[in-house]
Homo-oligomer: 439 residues x 2
């Protein structure tokens, strides 16, 4: 079985070779020191995949100039068609990406005057708004407007322009570090004259299956029983935050092989498959509620707003999510969610009865069609006899009844909270799709 998989992965190399190849170079000592997290390479990876570009590796290096130059040379030497860099475009001494790119490609740095003018305008407006002296920015602005001679300049979103440098047939695209700047600038790349031949292509046949409530081992067994990738597919099975994502891509077998495998998995694992598109769970749920003309409220104890906040990331969610209550204190459960004090005393705040009362209370006080509640012990403290860390009760309430769920999550505080929030979103989905529990 394992051998068959390996053989299959090697056979379609010719098909894969036609796709553009890319590498990402992430710069920043703050990343190597753990001061901040890289949020760009994963996002860029998804965009490259959408454009049918094969990302071979991501390399994160120190932002001293030598490290960036070394990393850049390595990626160029691999022969990839496209290198994206992220970060190191700021005004401070440790922002050295543009200078390093210029050194590697053997060009001198020149100030791009239109860009300098644009950055000066932006920082002057910022300074004026705060009563600061715009001269404080002049040195940094000049640095940020310096680009390798002959490079194409991508207009700044914040104060840093991007650059596209051509090295023979290879392209190096230098992008800013702040995720929102990088993402906005990315939108201009597929149509850029120097990049359209790399980013203009279709992604090729693929199918996505997203599963909840089944172990990864079982997905792996079903996949193996169906012959794995033996018919010219390339499949990734990825478990994250209690959900499993399966993406099946063409690797020589064409659309037929992709569809055959996807259909086989769906037939055997159907009950656990909740989506076949890449929309985030939050977006999927908001769309589902909107099309059913249902409004939602939240009542959160151990997740403390995480369910509402995840939904809040979806643009336009305020049509659907009317509001919610974060209720750590029992008095808040009683006062804002009408949970009877007697119920809290009898069952304790972490109980199925209180979860149900919280959800019913949130429906009434917020005035929503549906409400979902979470109460549990996120840890590390708070466990009592019979109520261990990780024990969580959830309830989704609707006009015709509710769905209850008791889970025992393993892991640290953040894991328990995240898995609980995911479970809450799926519980609402189940209530809408499958109706209330039969009692």
């Amino acid at each position: 079985m394992a051998d068959a998989t390996v053989a299959a992965a090697e056979a379609p190399a010719a098909a894969a070779a036609r796709r553009p190849r890319a590498g990402i170079l992430v710069t920043g000592s703050e990343l190597l020191l753990g001061q901040t997290q890289d949020r760009n390479s994963g996002w860029l990876a998804g965009r490259l995949d959408e454009h049918g570009v094969r990302l071979e590796r991501v390399l994160t290096v120190d932002d001293d100039g030598a490290g960036i130059e070394e990393g850049l040379r390595e990626l160029l030497d691999r022969g990839v068609d496209l290198i994206l860099t992220s970060g190191g475009l700021g005004p401070t001494h440790d922002d050295r990406t543009v200078a390093a790119v210029a050194a590697v490609v053997g060009r001198r740095l020149v100030v791009d005057e239109p860009t300098l003018h644009r950055i000066d305008e932006i920082t002057a407006a910022f300074a004026a708004g705060r009563g600061l002296d715009p001269a404080a920015w002049s040195h940094g602005n000049r640095k940020q407007a310096s680009v390798p001679e002959g490079a194409a300049v991508l207009p700044p979103v914040g104060t840093a322009p991007g650059v596209v440098v051509s090295v023979g047939e290879q392209r190096v695209v230098v992008l800013p570090g702040p995720p929102s700047e990088l993402q906005t600038m990315w939108a201009t790349l597929p149509a850029h004259p120097d990049l359209a031949h790399l980013l203009g292509g279709p992604a090729g046949p693929r199918r996505t299956l997203r599963l909840y409530g089944t172990p990864e081992s079982q997905v792996a067994d079903v996949f193996a029983a169906l012959g794995g990738d033996g018919h010219g597919t390339e499949t990734t099975i990825c478990a994250s935050r209690s959900e499993i994502s399966v993406v099946i891509r063409d690797a020589g077998g064409g659309e037929g092989a992709v569809g055959h495998l996807a259909d086989g998995l769906e037939a055997r694992l159907g009950a656990a498959v909740y989506a076949t598109d890449p929309r985030p769970l939050e977006k999927l749920l908001v769309d589902r509620l909107r099309s059913a003309r249902l409004t939602l409220a939240t009542a959160e104890s151990c997740t403390a707003g995480l369910v509402a906040s995840r939904l809040g990331a979806v643009a336009g969610v305020s049509d659907v999510l009317l509001g919610g209550v974060v209720s750590y204190a029992d008095a808040v459960k009683a006062d804002l969610l009408d949970v009877p004090t007697a119920l809290l005393e009898r069952h304790g705040a972490v109980s199925a009865a209180v979860a149900a009362a919280m959800a019913e209370g949130a429906r009434r006080t917020v005035g929503a069609d549906l409400a979902v509640s979470v109460t549990g012990i996120a840890g590390p403290g708070g466990a009592t006899p019979g109520k261990p860390v990780g024990l969580v009760f959830l309830h989704a309430a609707g006009p015709d009844g509710g769905r209850a769920l008791e889970r025992r999550f393993r892991g640290d505080r953040q894991t328990v909270r995240e898995w609980s929030a995911t479970a809450a979103l799926h519980l609402v989905r189940a209530l809408v799709e499958d109706g209330p529990d039969r009692t």
Copy 2:
């Protein structure tokens, strides 16, 4: 100025060379396809730094065996003392890290019987709890219990054991991908007999300054005016989510040089320095409130629970954060936060007056000493004439008055929400530390 900085960075190479050097190899096609984000390398980077280990680079590769082997060889060839790998220990066909490590170091894979027994117990309990057949796990368990001959086994936290492989003086530590498993397993490493010589050392002199409310350019200018790293320090200046973190490390100048630079920065930027330790802002605020014996409530519109949820990540926060309200709908602002309808009609929900009323209302209805509110336009929709996307009003209310804040954030929906939440936490801090606005 720039030249002096470069020269200084080169001079202390001898001092830096005494520190152990490390590389991280992250495996997972799902990362290169953008299906999931790497949350491990940044966390490991912080831990390595705490132990005085210099992380040189992070390499993320495809999880086909050849890619992992190639990446591992590259890191070994760099001569680093320690290589940490993350991911690829699962039961599925695309989990190939252990086999790749064995191939690179020239050892065969053997089943570690005690580990297999342990994993069988874990999966049998899981299967029993859900009425599933434990045999579904047997193939995967045997795979997960296979380790390179002669390797030290790190007991599984989930179902995957870690391994420590010695290659001459170099050490390869294979860790699982799920962040909570990796973090729990990490705790056993500093005392591990094969690793204590690398992870047992102190981190060396360092000072941290964390700033809020000052532009990165100004921090850079003050840093430069103080001579930069010219006296044997190594400084990183990192802006993230509207906060700036400055870490000054020893690079030959010793504790005196570190302290001199840190004191200089603090003297000139003091008003913006809010912390000198690495505690997360949320933890810092919860500790501050607890020591002042103050309780807190939240009232969130555009952040929709993000403020409460970020505080909820702090263990023991329920002593301090009693609860809160998420109020997208005006009816929720009126019903649960007692915001007068007339005020909503006159000023609109996104206004200083409504922000103040939300905070005052949350104090009363939740029964907390302090409350903080956020109302704004996160975008992309929702802008009205005079109220653009990114406009946010915040208010922190206390028994003796409040602090009001109006901000206009640039960026996408998630940026506006995150920056707003950070501003809300700082506003509470300012209320506690500096008292209410004078009116």
